[in-house]
């Protein structure tokens, strides 16, 4: 019996020592002693030139990568310092000398210049505009004008002709909302193209396009201005902006949802609406109603966005249509500060 108890006690002690004590496991140590290098970020590089402005755009999926990139300029060089190494995928050829060493991208410009730097989102990108400096600026070092999102001289505009396809919209006699908004959008597009502006239409024919598809298209084009065109049942122009309040700094997480993209552009949308409203009022001598509403399309677009409703009573008049086109152009130009 005593023997049996001794065996039992030994077994209990063994089992306790096996489970109760922490097991020490040695983690493998990297041979070099350093942390493994982070994978290089894919950065797309685009060059373009419009009206004497050379634009270089670096685009990547990581917003913090763009945020932590710095741009400096000295003498005849512009230096773009990225936070880590990158895989640069260039589209097009620049008309100036460029080089990439590690995480430093250098642009050499042979004539006096000044630059404008923009950090934009949706998609995250860094835009460097290089302009010829005025003669008296020639010997001064080039200055970085701004680092926050601002409106560039060559703004990108997305026009959204409301309704389409089986979704006819308002019908008044022979007039159908889907036709009228499309015709007006084409007319504004043509006028903007004449001024060498970049402009996109959400639909290019009489086709149905869902609200979600319109928002996705607009965000893909990364516009500075988004205008959705519709008709109003009243005798007044109605300009809608999203009811989204400007984003607070601690609400960064909310901004990733499609429906809350507008929050960081709320102030810009208001400025655009007021600019358009003033011009329309002056040109067409009609009352303008500015209204905030939770319209899902406006809430989903990451740009200064408005929906303009034209009075159904005047929208079919060709001379009024021409005035509306001109007013929209002036409103966009006034917003862009041109």
């Amino acid at each position: 019996m005593r023997k049996l108890m001794t065996v039992f006690a030994v077994l209990v002690i063994l089992s306790v020592s096996g489970t109760g004590h922490p097991v020490e496991t040695k983690l493998p140590v990297p041979k070099s002693g350093a942390a493994p290098a982070a994978p290089a970020a894919d950065v797309f590089l685009r060059f373009s030139k419009h009206e004497g402005i050379s634009r270089i755009v670096f685009e990547t999926a990581d917003e913090s990568f763009i945020k932590n990139t710095t741009v400096t300029s000295e003498r005849n060089q512009i230096k773009v310092l990225f936070p880590s190494n990158l895989n640069l995928k260039a589209q097009g050829n620049p008309d100036m000398e460029t080089s990439l060493k590690g995480n430093l991208y250098t642009i050499t410009v042979n004539s006096p210049f000044r630059i404008k730097v923009l950090k934009l989102s949706s998609p995250p990108r860094l835009s460097v505009d290089i302009m010829a400096a005025a003669k008296d600026e020639g010997r001064k070092p080039a200055a970085v004008e701004a680092t926050g999102p601002a409106i560039t001289p060559n703004i990108r505009v997305v026009l959204d002709p409301g309704h389409g396809g089986y979704e006819v919209g308002i019908v008044s006699g022979d007039l159908r909302e889907k036709d009228l908004t499309f015709s007006l959008a084409r007319s504004v597009e043509a006028a903007l193209l004449k001024k060498n502006k970049t402009v996109f239409l959400t639909r290019k024919a009489d086709q149905f396009l869902s609200i979600t598809d319109r928002a996705i298209f607009a965000n893909q084009k990364a516009p500075d201005v988004f205008i959705s065109l519709h008709l109003s049942m009243t005798d007044n122009f109605v300009i809608y902006i999203s009811a989204a309040e400007p984003a607070s700094p601690d609400a960064a997480g909310e901004l990733y949802g499609l429906m809350s993209r507008q929050r960081r552009y709320a102030d810009k949308s208001k400025a655009l609406a007021e600019g358009l409203g003033n011009v329309l009022k002056e040109e067409l001598k009609r009352d303008i109603i500015l209204r905030k509403m939770d319209l899902p399309l406006l809430a989903s677009v990451g740009a200064a966005s408005v929906m303009v409703e034209l009075p159904v009573t005047v929208a079919s008049d060709q001379s009024v249509k021409t005035k509306i086109t001109e007013s929209l152009l002036k409103g966009i130009a006034s917003y862009a500060g041109q």
Binding site: E167, V238, M293, D294, M307, E309
Partner: protein
């Protein structure tokens, strides 16, 4: 006493007891379970008043919602009350010449989800015959939502489906893919 007569006597006693039991049961149940009401003559108007209730229905009208009180059949179940209200809503307002409610719309079914959402299945006319701008669409949906929420307790939100299917939008300005509450914040 002969055995036959004694047997007949017992049968009679049992038969009397049986009939007495039936008669007693009839009087007991008729007194306690409402046979009395059926026997009473209730005036028809009073009976109708007891069966009816008033609901507040909100109709879109000239850029705002106007409320009308409508008399509907008294109902107990949530879906039955909602059915009465939506049918009144679809009839349109009595005071306006032209209704902003899409003509020809029929209520196909009402479902009440365990999530507190009331699903209104409407006919395709609700989408097809809608004529209006963003504010008109807003007021149409808000009128429908307010009419339900202000009359039916236990409903947290309302969702519109068309012909049994989810659709993206009624009039091309608002999403109908989601319940209405969050989308119908006040216009500023």
């Amino acid at each position: 006493m002969p055995a036959n007569r004694k047997r007949i006597l017992w049968v009679l006693v049992f038969a009397l007891l049986f009939l007495g039991g039936i008669a007693g049961g009839f009087f007991y149940f008729s007194r306690n379970f409402g046979f009395k009401q059926a026997a009473e003559t209730v005036p028809q108007e009073a009976r109708q008043a007891e069966d009816a209730s008033f609901v507040r229905v909100y109709y879109p009208s000239e850029g705002r919602l106007v409320m009308e009180e409508r008399r509907v059949k008294r109902q107990v179940a949530i879906t039955a009350i909602a059915e009465e209200i939506v049918n009144e809503f679809l009839k349109g307002p009595s005071t306006m010449a032209k209704s902003a409610v899409p003509p020809g719309t029929k209520l196909l079914a009402v479902y009440y989800g365990s999530d507190g959402i009331l699903y209104l299945d409407l006919s395709d006319e609700f989408r097809r015959n809608f004529q209006g701008d963003a504010l008109n669409e807003f007021l149409l949906l808000k009128g429908l939502y307010d009419s339900i929420i202000s009359n039916v307790t236990g409903v947290d939100d309302v969702k519109v489906i068309i012909e049994g299917k989810e659709i993206e939008s009624i009039g091309g300005h608002f999403l109908a893919l989601y319940p209405l509450k969050n989308m119908l914040a006040e216009v500023k």
